[in-house]
């Protein structure tokens, strides 16, 4: 009889305390749930996860790969321009250099520029936005007026002028690109901080007489992290695109180093006869930008469920 079978199962224990009341085991996870939720939501977005994995793979390939490939700058005229073969997966270029090695080394430069300039913009933007939002009043008005004024300037023109006039060098490139991108970051962070400033825990910190620097670094900045992460993910591709744009115009990374932008520039010059010289670096850049943009969108949806999906 089915009834008997059911009775053999252990009866439920209705009086056992549900785990949510178990304060002791829950304490270590305080503040954890936002990130857990976000992670769970992100994992459900399968394409975003694929993009994330792909980015990790690209990064590893670009940073570790060049240790195992041929010297990307080694010229060998005997193999002047060959179409892709088993030996040279992406063929060789007009100087007899292995394109696969150059695409990997170029990716390293492109990713480095993207990351470093993003860090520059991150540091300036977060500090500036937090200070403006926290101090408020006249200081905020003056600081944000400045941002508005700089916003109205055609900054890329200045970047081009800087690169042309003072020569192509890496440091200038980071600073110039980072200096363009921090404005939006400052605006976003300021908005967050303005909202946070009126919360009780900041009031409590103020009432306790904590120094302003401690409130800013320990209490405000960590709480702006969500939007900052999202915007950072979207800043990296924007900066990589700018770098590629400058390199394409012949103003970016100095030779003989290559970035994806300079490779595309070289490829575009000889695309009539040797289209693969354009195709592979172009593809590498496009797929990476696509993944970063898509991952950024996915992170935004995951971290802020209220934000509309398009």
């Amino acid at each position: 009889m089915p009834l008997v079978a059911e009775e053999t199962q252990p009866p439920p224990e209705p009086f056992e305390a549900p785990p949510i009341l178990d304060v002791a085991s829950h304490e270590g996870e305080a503040g954890h749930s936002l990130w857990q939720d976000a992670w769970a939501r992100l994992r459900r977005n399968r394409l975003a996860v694929i993009c994330g994995g792909f980015l990790i793979a690209i990064a590893v390939l670009c940073f570790v790969g060049p240790l195992f490939t041929q010297d990307p700058n080694a010229q060998e005229l005997s193999r002047y321009i060959t179409a892709p073969t088993w030996e040279h997966w992406m063929g060789t270029d007009t100087h007899g250099r292995d394109l696969f090695a150059r695409v990997l080394a170029g990716g390293r430069v492109s990713l480095m520029v993207g990351l470093c300039a993003t860090v520059v913009s991150l540091v300036i933007g977060v500090l500036y936005g937090t200070v403006a939002g926290y101090l408020g009043g006249k200081v905020d008005a003056v600081m944000m007026r400045f941002v508005d004024a700089v916003y109205a300037m055609p900054f890329i023109i200045f970047v081009i002028l800087l690169m042309v006039l003072f020569g192509r060098n890496f440091l200038l490139l980071f600073v110039a690109l980072g200096a363009v991108e921090w404005l939006t970051m400052a605006r976003i962070v300021r908005g967050q901080v303005m909202a946070l400033r009126r919360t009780e825990f900041i009031e409590a910190a103020d009432a306790l007489g904590l120094p302003k620097s401690r409130i800013i670094f320990r209490h405000l900045i960590p709480n702006t992290l969500g939007p900052v992460i999202v915007f950072t993910t979207l800043t990296i591709p924007a900066i990589m695109l700018q770098e590629a744009f400058l390199s394409f115009l012949g103003l970016g990374v100095p030779p003989p180093d290559a970035s994806w932008g300079t490779l595309i520039n070289e490829g575009a010059k000889s695309m009539e006869e040797y289209p693969w010289l354009l195709l592979f670096p172009g593809l590498a850049l496009a797929v990476t930008l696509f993944s970063l943009n898509f991952l950024g969108d996915g992170l935004r949806d995951a971290l802020d469920p209220r934000a509309s999906k398009d």
Binding site: L165, L249, I264, G267, L278, A286, V287
Partner: protein, 306 residues
């Protein structure tokens, strides 16, 4: 409204002046001189040339000498590199070309982008939705300096439909405009879809349908006005992007427009031409932004201009 436009115009003039001054300082203090690339110039001749263009004077005096005639009667001075041509002449030749290209690119972007966005919002979650939306995601990720050369290889070299470069025949307009337009079409499509979806779910659309308005009338007369608002908000940055996009496009397609002259002038240290193009770009971007804001306020009465 008029007060807003007036105050923004004053603000734009301020920004342009700031940009011009910064550029002036940057150019004068940078290494290199306009006459470096001339071959075998003896120091005397070089000094003579610098004297002719007033480069031997202190920087503040050069500043006054440059901005004086510019403000008095819009004189941008002579070009240092293209001898016998004034900057005003060069700009007069190049600006219409850049304008025309920007106009076609914007037309492509708006028709394709808004069209695809409306279509996607009306056929939500069907192939007509995700196909254009996936394409637009690809479009945003592939830079124009990759699309441009690829289009040249395909349509000019292999198929032979267009010239590889130049700006002479009407057909020469096609590839540059498409290259620049596609990129913004991708953005516009996503923005339109989002805006339309929001509007289509509102009560007044249901009312319009209940009153028996045809689907076309509902979409075109009632929904579109609100649905394109995100596109109009993005129009300012997009127009600025189309202006700077001309640097790349004009380089790829060898078009004698303003963007190409700017890059060349900077490389040549052609001080006056750099100044002229930068002032023009800064004013253009400022004015186009203002235009976009006014358009937004006109379409959406809830936006207050002040």
């Amino acid at each position: 409204m008029l007060k807003f436009i007036a105050s923004r115009l004053v603000q734009t003039v301020g920004v342009v002046w700031l940009v011009a001054t910064l550029t002036f300082v940057l150019v004068r203090f940078a290494p290199g001189s306009p006459f470096d690339q001339e071959r075998n110039v003896s120091p005397e001749i070089k000094a003579n040339m610098e004297k002719r263009y007033g480069l031997d004077q202190p920087v503040w005096k050069q500043y006054v000498n440059y901005f004086g005639p510019l403000i008095a009667h819009g004189d941008f001075g002579p070009s240092f590199k293209y001898s016998n041509r004034t900057v005003t002449e060069i700009i007069g030749d190049a600006l219409p070309i850049s304008f025309e290209m920007g106009f076609w690119a914007l037309l492509v972007a708006l028709t394709l982008g808004v069209g695809a966005g409306v279509l996607a919002s009306l056929r939500r979650n069907t192939a007509l939705d995700w196909l254009p939306m996936s394409l637009s995601l690809v479009g945003i990720s592939v830079p124009i300096f990759v699309v441009g050369p690829l289009l040249i290889v395909t349509f000019s070299i292999h198929l032979g439909w267009f010239n590889v470069n130049g700006w002479n025949e009407p057909a020469d307009r096609v590839l540059p405009s498409l290259t620049l337009g596609f990129y913004y079409a991708a953005y516009f499509a996503r923005l339109t879809r989002g805006g339309m979806l929001e509007v289509l779910s509102q009560d007044f659309i249901r009312t319009a349908r209940a009153k028996g308005a045809s689907e076309g009338r509902v979409v075109l007369r009632h929904a579109l006005r609100g649905g394109v608002l995100p596109v109009v908000s993005f129009l300012g940055p997009a127009l600025a992007g189309i202006v700077t996009g001309s640097f790349t496009i004009e380089t790829i397609f060898h078009i004698p427009g303003l963007g190409r002259y700017f890059i060349q002038a900077a490389l040549n240290r052609d001080y006056t031409l750099v100044m002229g193009t930068v002032i023009l770009f800064a004013s253009l971007i400022g004015l186009l932004n203002l235009l976009a804001d006014v358009l937004l306020a006109w379409l959406n009465p809830r936006v207050k201009l002040d």
